[in-house]
Amino acid sequence: MPIFEVNGRKYEVDEDGFLQDPSIWNEDVAKDFAKSEGIDELTDEHWKVIHYLRNYYLQYGIAPMIRKLCKETGFKLNKIYELFPSGPAKGACKLAGLPKPTGCV
């Protein structure tokens, strides 16, 4: 199992660098993972997306529809890509400690 080591902390991750155990997430995780996603500093806009994803995940056990994420945060999809260069599923979900969505996506 790969280990992601940053700021003196160690995380068990999968091959794509997603947190193995989503339940251990806290805000430090998002900060620690940000650099690996090419994000220098997490702004309020980043946090808005991260918290929305996290809360949705706690309620539903999965990420929301991409369209719903855009509408509820008020960010168009290209803005989400600006904030999280690998996109909503791979970038934003990783920072929010969600598993990577699989299937025809």
Partner: protein, 546 residues
């Protein structure tokens, strides 16, 4: 794009010279970007598959069971007895080479082991060694070889560089179906715990929750409700989407990506507008909440287990028949395997359109109709009120998805619909469409990021044909009827043909449908201003959702 992804100029420098060493003496090299990660142990455990453990294909030691060779040979013997097609395909190839340059992975990689004839030979050589007299006596002289760890690794690499698209079999004078050979190859590997996560995790999710994504019933309802609300905002019309309504006439089953990802979502909106428009008595289900069947990419047994839930749910709800959405591989399973695996579904009725009275005779046994057949029939009978000018900002071409086209012969219906609901339609060159269509390069479970270089190589012929119509006719959208297409064609086109979008057919249907009581529409379903609205405001055609 991953750091390891080659630049376009590099990638298209494809070297077609074979290696200097004979193919049996050329071991596989696991290069990043060209193979998929192994299946996680938790997913194998969930499905009761053998040998769950922590390993990766790039590891030297694959942690196989000690008697792995016996397991594989026994499994091969079983399948030679069980599947006449497999036995036949092991025996009859004459190496004419008609298939050699038909594979998108060979065209995009130049690797001779991606020629279908040689991909099959990887397993035929082992068949000869253990199951034919000539192979047992003369070994390599008779084209036979021992089953070694290197052979097993080669199987993994190349059976997961085949999208089971079956383009090669269109050209084979014997009709050898390479997909069936790949399927058996994967099935044998599965016996010793060698499989990929992008196929096994969706299958495990589907087995647990009813869909590949793992969406649970309350999440399913949340997504459907969101779509209904948004449709009302766009059109002013409130549609109804019953969930698990007992006694509905039709059960509608779509791929789960339709209620999760973009651009799939806009197709979902199109389905719901259509059903409201014609007053269809239908229901969706949070249990049969997946059309796709990733079991097809693992083993016959897994395919059967996942296919079963659709029919079980249809029976439980007491519907008359099943309508299937814009899903690709589902149709290979339904059209070519379902009947003898789980069928016949004699507790359902022969599908009959309640709107036109058309009986879908060809679905007499499976009881399942493709939405394009259904919609084309509605159009043919003049049942839809359409304004195709609402698609005037789209210049459309159509990518035949491998399975609807080659596995069920759905060639005319999508085109008939598109030409009715859109004013601008252009075909790609004839050797790249219909039964000769080129795969997206990511089917059969290969659409994952770590495999991106290979996906781009495999998608190169398709992208090339899109580039042709983009430059010649100004095509700006590639339509398709498969959820894997909708997920994987956008990055492919971004790489090879920027400026061309991807959309489902029922998105265009939804754009064109004139709904009773609708408000004047100024955008299409994805928020792009319509041509007249854009002209009036001097606006640029930027989608509001982009």
């Amino acid at each position: 794009m991953a750091e390891t992804t080659p630049k376009l100029d590099e990638l298209v420098q494809i070297d077609y010279r074979p290696p200097e060493t004979p193919w049996m003496d050329t071991p596989v090299e696991f290069r990043r970007g060209t193979f998929c990660y192994s299946a996680a142990a938790k997913n194998l455990e969930y499905l009761g598959f053998p040998n769950p453990r922590d390993w990766q294909p790039s590891d030297e030691d694959w942690k196989l069971p000690e008697n792995w060779r016996e397991i594989i040979l026994k499994a091969m013997e079983d399948r030679l007895k069980k599947f006449r097609s497999f036995r036949l395909f092991m025996d009859i190839c004459v190496r004419c080479g008609a298939c050699a340059d038909k594979c998108h992975f060979y065209i995009g990689s130049g690797d001779p082991k991606n020629m279908p004839v040689l991909r099959a030979e990887l397993i035929r050589s082992v068949y000869r060694r253990y199951f034919t007299r000539a192979g047992k006596m003369f070994g390599r002289l008779a084209g036979a070889r021992d089953l070694t760890i290197d052979v097993l690794k080669e199987w993994f690499y190349y059976f997961y560089q085949c999208t089971e698209c079956r383009r090669c079999s269109v050209f084979c004078p014997y009709g050898i179906d390479q997909a069936e050979i790949t399927m058996i190859g994967r099935e044998l590997l599965n016996e010793v715990g060698v499989n990929i996560n992008w196929a096994v995790e969706p299958a495990a999710n589907c087995f647990r929750t009813g869909n590949h994504l793992g969406v649970q019933p309350h999440g399913f309802k949340d997504s459907i409700d969101f779509a209904v609300d948004e449709l009302e905002e766009i059109t002013g019309v409130r549609v109804e989407v019953p969930i698990m309504k007992k006694g509905a006439e039709v059960l509608f089953i779509m791929p789960s990506a339709d209620y999760f990802a973009s651009p799939h979502y806009y197709t979902l909106l199109g389905y719901f507008l259509l059903f409201h428009h014609i007053g269809l008595d239908f229901t969706v289900s949070a249990y049969a909440s997946e059309g796709g069947n990733f079991g097809l990419f693992i083993s016959h047994e897994m395919m059967k287990r996942l296919n079963d839930k659709m029919y079980r749910e249809a029976k439980r709800l007491g519907v008359k028949w099943i309508l299937g959405g814009e899903c690709g591989h589902m149709w290979r399973v339904v059209h070519q395997y379902m009947d003898t695996m789980n069928g016949p579904a004699d507790f359902l009725e022969v599908p009959k359109s309640p709107i036109t009275g058309t009986v879908f005779d060809h679905a007499r046994s499976t009881k399942m109709v493709h939405i394009c057949e259904f919609t084309a029939d509605l159009i043919r009978h003049g049942k839809l009120k359409l304004d195709p000018s609402r698609n005037d900002h789209w210049n459309v071409t159509f990518h035949d998805s491998c399975n609807p086209s080659r596995a069920m012969g759905l060639l005319e219906e999508p085109r008939y619909i598109l030409k009715t609901v859109c004013n601008h339609f252009h075909e790609m060159p004839e050797n790249t469409i219909r039964e000769q269509t080129f795969c997206c390069g990511s089917g059969a479970g290969l659409g994952t990021d770590e495999n991106l270089e290979m996906r781009l190589r495999g998608g190169f012929p398709r992208a090339n044909a899109v580039k042709y119509v983009h430059e010649k006719h100004g095509v700006n959208v590639l339509s398709c009827i498969c959820a894997i297409d909708k997920a994987t064609l956008p990055p492919l086109l971004e790489y090879f043909v920027p400026g061309v979008e991807v959309a489902g057919i029922h998105e265009f249907v939804g754009n064109a449908l004139v709904m009773e009581g609708e408000r004047e529409r100024d955008t299409d379903l994805r928020g792009t201003p319509l041509v007249k609205a854009a002209q009036a405001e001097g606006d640029k055609e930027e989608p509001a959702h982009a």
